[in-house]
């Protein structure tokens, strides 16, 4: 902050005394007053004036006043008026939007608010302080603090989320605002919470822990439920944030019996005859959209299966599924609401036998009454219905048949000869109609829908083989499969062909009987091989998919072949693939699909995701089938053909050919090694690349950051462009100072160098000295040692002499005794010695 202020000052300089006081000048005086005045009234006035200037002179107020404002928040905590003013001023400074007043100066999309936010939150506990002000009941303080938090969050979402997450009771304080009787505060708190909970599971959980769902439902109730205004939509958006992808909160929602509280919201008021559409205001459409999304968040196919199943059960038990079906069958429901509701029903019943059964029993209020499913399928094969609605019906039907053996068999049943004429329209008839209609989208929808009757159900695959279609009068009926192959061969649109291939692949997978039937159809195999051998490396997506599916189908005919069609036994088919298509080409074709983004996207989610009719090409379950079988199919084809080869060509090789083969093998081995080492290199390079990218990223972030900071400074600069001269002298001063600085730097460096040298020398010297003295001591020591040795030797000599003398004395004594002389004993001489001592010591 201090840095900011001073750098700003040096850029701006002091204004010439005679000119009108500039904005910056005024701001500076106000900030001074705010900071130094001892009178609260005075400070209040200054703060009020600063607030008034903080839009037009946002950069100046922010750059010079932030510390002062912070000081107010700290020191004048008890005065709600000045706190409110200070918070409002900070609100303006950090506003993420550009004010009209500043567009000319700083451009439309400046990041001034974000910059000041960053500066503000850099000081630890700034956010904690603002959170604390939320506890103040006074409107001016609480509302302004809330707005300020909203701005900070908008500018720096991740940072603020992390700060609030770890500030004690932070979330709790925000949640309490939802019960504030002042609607502005409650509504703004709602908006803040929506932003706060975005993408942060930990905050989502704490918010839920703080009884969020109870409070949200309470607000929704107060605001009139689905019929209510935008606040209801905000409530639902928050609810959605808390639930989407958050298994823990979903469990909490279910366990807290909140699913049950959704039901009444879905119960539509009875229609009025005179204005059937009056019930659907744009706001209500938005509300119901969000409500449906809440449901879908709870039963999303991507969620944990057990939890999803529990929610599905609860939704049926509490009448929510019923309420959804009522919307499906009601008239006057806008198409987009209907579309979303159908998808919701789809996910509520998906894989849940009793819910599927429930849908099967729902009747549409038509005359004559028809099952809801039939009515839905009628829309799916009706060209006039909106595309997305038709997609959602397919999804619903797929979910209806998902893991639903009963539903699957009932569908196929409607296609089999019944004996008596079926009196009413059936699902099977509708799908057949769609299959053979002239609308390629209907073809695709119907083929895919039909394929869902066959998933994991060999019985129905065999049953479907029995289906006969009456063609022109006088001609024998054809089987459904024959008809499909025929349609495939006719010049239909690719979309139609893809649909048929999806059906045929599903049909033949795991079902040798169906394979046999397919191989028995005239020119079925010829069509596939022709298609696969004709085009190569086509970049067209539809072509690639077509080839992929053809390759898969022929592969399925190999893998699930029970050798009952003599012309197309496993072995013969493999031979055919090798010769007519080529093994490499075959592999290429079958895998072609997986290289496309649309494949991975479709694989991810069961719901058809195309935005335009022409993009609807792949189906989720088909992609799964391909993913699961591709490997084993390729292997079985390769095995089939290599066994073929092993039997004939290799064994008949001449020695020279064998040598050649060995040579090639060697070559291959070498290349293998090469490939491996190259792969290794590739890995290291990729890693390096990653690292470098990360570095670039980091640098870019820094650059951006600097740019932004620069922006704030430049913005201030342009404001005072008329004081250029001033600035240039400033700049001049600046450069002389810099020169001086450089000079001093050189000197310091020089001194440093010299100091280092000296230290070096000193060390050397000490070293030398210590060496020298050591050797001196050593020689002295040696001398002394020598001396010592010599002395010892002398001593020894003397001792020897002494003993010599003593023995001589003894012999003389004995001689004297022998001669009769009286001789003193040793002891007495000793006594004499001791007598002497006291005298000497005195």
């Amino acid at each position: 902050m201090e840095y900011f202020k001073s750098s700003l000052k040096s850029v701006l300089g002091a204004p010439p005394p005679e000119s009108q006081p500039s904005g910056a000048d005024t701001v500076e005086r106000l900030v001074d007053r705010l900071q130094s005045s001892s009178l609260l009234d005075d400070r209040r006035d200054a703060c009020r004036a600063l607030k008034a200037l903080s839009r037009t002179y946002r950069v100046e107020v922010g750059a010079q006043g932030m510390d002062a404002l912070r000081q107010v928040l700290e020191m004048d905590r008890t005065d709600c008026e000045i706190i409110g003013l200070a918070l409002d001023t900070l609100c303006n400074i950090t506003n993420p939007e550009t004010f009209d007043e500043e567009v000319n100066k700083h451009g439309l999309k400046n990041k001034i608010g974000e910059q000041f936010t960053e500066i503000f939150i850099k000081q630890l506990d700034s956010v904690g302080q603002i959170l604390a002000f939320l506890e103040e009941f006074d409107f001016r303080v609480r509302w302004s603090a809330l707005k300020l938090l909203t701005h900070l969050l908008a500018n720096r979402p991740r940072d603020i989320q992390e700060i609030i997450l770890v500030s004690p009771m932070g979330v709790s304080k925000l949640m309490d605002l939802l019960s504030d009787s002042r609607e502005v505060i409650r509504n703004d708190a709602l908006l803040l919470l929506i932003q706060l909970t975005k993408g942060n599971a930990n905050i989502q959980k704490i918010v839920a822990f703080e009884n969020a769902f109870d409070r949200i439902f309470e607000v929704i109730r107060q605001e009139g439920g689905a019929e209510g205004g935008i606040v209801v939509e905000d409530c639902l958006l928050l609810m959605l944030n808390l639930l989407r992808g958050n298994a823990s909160n979903q469990n909490f929602f279910k366990e807290g019996s909140f699913i049950q509280r959704l039901t009444p919201m879905f119960q539509l008021p009875p229609e009025t005859d005179d204005s059937p559409l009056s019930g659907w205001s744009p706001q209500k459409v938005s509300n119901v959209h969000c409500m449906v999304k809440v449901i879908r968040a709870l039963v999303a196919p991507s969620g944990p299966a057990q939890a999803t199943a529990a929610c599905q059960r609860a939704m049926r038990a509490c009448g929510l599924l019923q309420a959804l079906c009522d919307i499906l069958m009601a008239s006057g429901v806008p198409a987009d609401v209907l579309t979303e509701t159908i998808s919701a029903v789809a996910e509520v019943i998906r894989g849940n036998a009793s819910n599927q059964e429930f849908l099967a029993g729902v009747m549409a209020p038509s005359t004559p009454p028809r099952p809801a499913i039939v009515v839905l399928l009628m829309s799916m094969v009706n060209e006039k219905q909106p595309f997305l609605l038709r997609c959602s019906v397919l999804y619903c039907f797929q979910c209806f048949l998902y893991k639903n053996e009963l539903g699957q068999s009932q569908l196929v049943q409607t296609l089999l000869p019944q004996g008596n004429e079926a009196p009413s329209l059936t699902t099977g008839q509708l799908l057949c109609g769609g299959l053979f209609s002239s609308d390629s989208l209907s073809n695709w929808f119907s083929a895919v829908a039909l394929s869902y009757a066959l998933i994991d159900n060999v019985t129905q695959k065999e049953q479907l083989l029995r289906v006969l279609l009456a063609t022109n009068i006088g001609k024998p009926p054809v089987t459904l499969m024959q008809q499909c192959v025929m349609l495939l061969q006719q010049g239909n649109k690719t979309q139609c062909k893809l649909g048929l291939l999806i059906l045929l692949c599903r049909w033949t997978a795991q079902c040798p009987t169906a394979v046999k039937a397919f191989l028995g159809i005239d020119s079925s195999v010829a069509y596939l091989t022709a298609l696969l051998s004709s085009q190569e490396n086509n970049d067209d997506l539809q072509e690639t998919l077509l080839q992929s599916m053809c390759a898969l189908l022929i592969g399925l005919c190999v893998y699930f072949n029970d050798d009952t069609v003599p012309n197309y036994t496993k072995e013969k088919l493999c031979h055919l693939i090798e010769n007519r298509i080529g093994l490499e080409r075959f592999q290429d074709a079958i895998g072609g699909i997986t290289r496309h983004e649309v494949y991975s996207r479709t694989l991810k989610h069961p719901q058809p995701s195309a935005k335009n009719p022409a993009d609807l090409l792949l189906d989720h379950e088909f992609c799964r089938l391909l993913k699961n079988l591709e490997g084993i199919i390729v292997k079985s084809v390769l095995d089939g053909s290599s066994s073929h080869r092993n039997n004939d060509p290799i064994s008949t090789l001449t020695p020279s050919e064998s040598a050649l083969v060995a040579q090639y093998k060697e070559l291959i081995r070498e290349q293998d090694v090469q490939i491996q080492s190259l792969n290794q290199v590739n890995v290291t390079l990729s890693k390096e690349k990653c690292d470098l990218e990360a570095q670039i990223h980091e640098l870019q972030a820094t650059v951006n950051h600097l740019k932004d900071q620069n922006l704030v400074l430049r913005a201030a600069q342009t404001n005072f462009s008329d004081e250029k001269q001033m600035m240039s002298t400033e700049n001049h001063i600046d450069t002389t100072v810099r020169e001086d600085l450089d000079k001093y730097k050189v000197i310091v460096k020089d001194l440093q160098q010299r100091l280092d040298d000296s230290i070096m020398k000193l060390k050397e010297y000490e070293h030398e000295r210590s060496n020298q003295s050591k050797s001196m001591l050593e020689s002295a020591l040696k001398e002394k040692m020598d001396e010592l040795e010599k002395l010892q030797k002398d001593q020894e000599d003397l001792l020897e002499l002494l003993t010599d003398q003593e023995s001589k004395i003894v012999s003389y004594k004995q001689k004297l005794i022998a001669l009769g002389e009286k001789v003193e004993s040793d002891e007495s001489s000793g006594e004499l010695d001791t007598d002497d001592q006291p005298e000497s010591s005195n």
Binding site: S172, F209, E210, F252, E255, S257, T263, P264, A317, G361
Partner: protein, 214 residues
């Protein structure tokens, strides 16, 4: 489906002591042998019966790792009961109890019932903390104590239920202000808000098979 009372619990204690396993054993009657580190908190729930009354337990299993401490503190206030867990085969988890307790006392409401749990009692051969030590600690700090095994399910039911009994008694004694939701206690809805009149007729087909949902 409807309940007389709802109690909020938290489970706290060092990482790896078996908090998540205790919850899983209590809600799903399963044991999870691999340590699936908890990130932040996870929610679980179950209905129990005390004194003939249905009581819904909402349980927040917190992460023991130090890094999550500031997040998990947000859950102390608003909980009526806490299971403070250590691992009898790792003394350091017992040594940390004082810190946990201080933290809990500082951030929770003063009436929160704390149950001390020495978990992994099935691993008696690797025991590092004697049962008596746990008892002594509990006595000293006014906690209820139990040794449990999330693996064999020994005492797991009891741990959760006894905590609830303790809370229930406090309610009877009037210690808890049950109208303040911040205490982690809620009185059950008098009328189930889930069966609005109009629907009962319409939705009869499905039947209210309440067992599944809560």
């Amino acid at each position: 489906m409807s309940y007389a009372y709802l109690f909020k619990y938290i489970i706290i204690g060092d990482t790896g002591v078996g908090k998540s396993c205790l919850l899983l054993q209590f809600t799903d009657k399963r044991f999870q042998p691999v340590h699936d580190l908890t990130i932040g908190v996870e929610f679980g729930a179950r209905m129990i019966t005390i004194d003939g009354k249905q009581i819904k337990l909402q349980i927040w299993d917190t992460a023991g790792q130090e890094a999550f401490r500031s997040i998990t503190r947000s859950y102390y206030r608003g909980a009526a009961g806490a299971l403070l867990v250590y691992d009898i085969t790792r003394r350091e988890t017992f040594n940390h109890l004082t810190t946990w307790l201080e933290d809990a006392r500082q951030h929770s409401n003063s009436n929160m019932v704390i149950m001390l749990i020495g978990n992994k009692s099935d691993l008696d051969s690797r025991r590092e903390v004697r049962r008596e030590e746990g008892e002594a600690f509990a006595r000293e700090h006014g906690l209820v104590f139990m040794e449990t095994s999330a693996k064999t399910a020994a005492n797991v039911e009891e741990a959760f239920i006894n905590t609830a009994k303790e809370i229930y008694e406090k309610i009877q004694e009037g210690v808890f202000d049950i109208n303040n939701e911040a205490n982690g206690i809620k009185i059950g809805p008098q009328h189930s808000p889930t069966s609005p009149g109009g629907l009962a007729g319409n939705g009869g087909q499905g039947g209210a098979q309440g067992g599944g949902c809560c």
